[in-house]
Symmetry: C2
Subunit: 300 residues, 2 copies
């Protein structure tokens, strides 16, 4: 039987919990750590080992996946008091799967390298349902040794694995480029749907036309049914794409790259957050246009 190495999962929010459950289901010993007691309880009930600190978690495994919220939390669970680096043996690998600035991922690879630890820059895509099913997409960048060591874990949790390159940071770059498109396409979808309503068209007819025509996008097809249903319960909070677009714009500015369309879309997200919609589903971006243009949105 194939040896299944113990895997540590730090950050068991929606995505991390999905990964932990998938690994348990496929026979991997799983060690978890989260600040939220109820998340740890849920993982323990499913067979995971909970750990008092990231350091303790790291003492029991050679591969750690971090799925915390952002770069700040990644830094804290790695380098803080009782951080994972205090427990991880030389030769271990950190799969960093949060969405962060590419420059952060590059720097992290150097800082881990000084301690003999490898970084796999490994952002994920696909949402909680696919994390639970083991069918996420992953954008992978890192040295061959890191890839090799993570291979059985990657094959267990992701069915689309894009190998972007050898340089840490390139996975994060691919992720923010994809998310820039997701963010702009959703903002355009909301602007177009709101304008259609303002023009007096039936939003259901427009959704049907666009989905079958050249204006189609993954975000339009995924999010506009929520608008038609008046359902803004957060599956992905609006503030997440807001953050992703701001990471993208920071990277563009460093390169003097003119990202005007991303900038216009980002402004729409910022405005929607300012109006109080940041914790709603990102389809609630259309409420910005509701406020500005006085349209009536479909009700739940």
């Amino acid at each position: 039987m194939e040896h299944k190495p113990a895997v540590g999962v730090i950050g068991i929010g929606q995505m991390g919990m999905g990964v932990a459950m998938t690994l348990l289901r496929k026979g991997f010993p799983v060690r978890v750590r989260d600040l939220r007691r109820e998340a740890e309880d849920e993982a323990r009930a499913a067979g995971a080992t909970t750990c008092a600190t990231p350091a303790e978690l790291a003492r029991g495994c050679a591969v750690i996946i971090t799925l915390v919220v952002n770069a700040e939390q990644t830094d804290s669970v790695m380098f803080g008091a009782d951080g994972a680096l205090a427990g991880l043996a030389r030769g271990g690998v950190v799969m960093m799967s949060s969405t962060v600035a590419p420059s952060y991922a590059q720097g992290l690879a150097l800082r881990l390298g000084e301690r003999g630890v490898l970084l796999l820059d490994a952002p994920v895509s696909g949402g909680p349902a696919r994390a639970h099913a083991g069918t996420m997409s992953m954008m992978l960048a890192g040295e061959a040794a890191a890839m090799d060591q993570c291979r059985p874990v990657l094959e267990a949790i992701a069915d689309k694995r894009f190998h972007i390159g050898e340089r840490a940071g390139d996975g994060s770059k691919a992720k923010i480029v994809n998310n820039m498109l997701a963010g702009v396409n959703l903002a355009a979808a909301c602007e177009a749907m709101a304008l259609a309503i303002k023009l007096g068209l039936d939003p259901r007819a427009i959704a049907e036309v666009v989905s079958a025509s050249s204006g189609a996008s993954w975000m339009f097809s995924d999010r506009m049914p929520r608008v038609l249903a008046g359902d803004y319960a957060p599956r992905a909070a609006l503030e997440i794409l807001t953050k992703d677009l701001s990471i993208l714009l920071d990277a563009a500015r460093e390169l003097n790259f003119p990202a005007n369309i991303a900038q216009a879309a980002h402004q729409a997200y910022v405005d929607a957050v300012a109006l109080g919609h940041g914790a709603e589903d990102d389809a609630a971006l259309i409420k910005l246009y509701q406020t500005l243009a006085g349209i009536e949105l479909p009700q739940r």
Copy 2:
């Protein structure tokens, strides 16, 4: 055998020629009119009847499809000297399939109505290949009588027929809303792909990631292979989406609707036209970013 009424096609460019050929193939008598002699010769060789003027064309049929470039040409072939209205009998129908401002379509319905002629506001989508195959999409708005009279023709030329409503203008509204999304999604695709190249990523890897992820759009999947192949031979000229976005922005302005993202995208198209790329394929929008950001694009 079902009666196949004679159909007039005014404007046999790429789309109009496709429609004429489809109708001929399906057994409709077809009368054509175009200012370009070689287009008329091609249609005649395939069995169409060529006509010296729009009025002469109209004398032989009760259903006319106009597929000229814009509102100005539509006005000229309808109301100009020897225009179609001089020949069209009362009760005839004009299927206006060019992309025009919704307000133009609304006004046209009234002007035709004064002469006892019905308007079907019937913009098309799908490109020349689908026009030739008889599998276009059409967005249809008009009175039931106009729809009824056009039904056999519509069923012959379009396999996706979206009935938007009874009011002329609503078809054109649906069309410009779809094309706004096509225009923004393509501009975002070019901006994202150019930024990916500036970030040092492999454009082929990015195309693969995005196509399988949340950033996917119809325009990305259709146009980015042209960028990867360095192939900017015009299938749809860049100036067309430029015009479509400006029609959309005019309609938005009339309603005081804040179409900021469409505005940002439109500016990118205007800039690309200013740089001399208007007659190239619309995928050449990425050359704007090449010029501004100094990136190297894939070569043919």
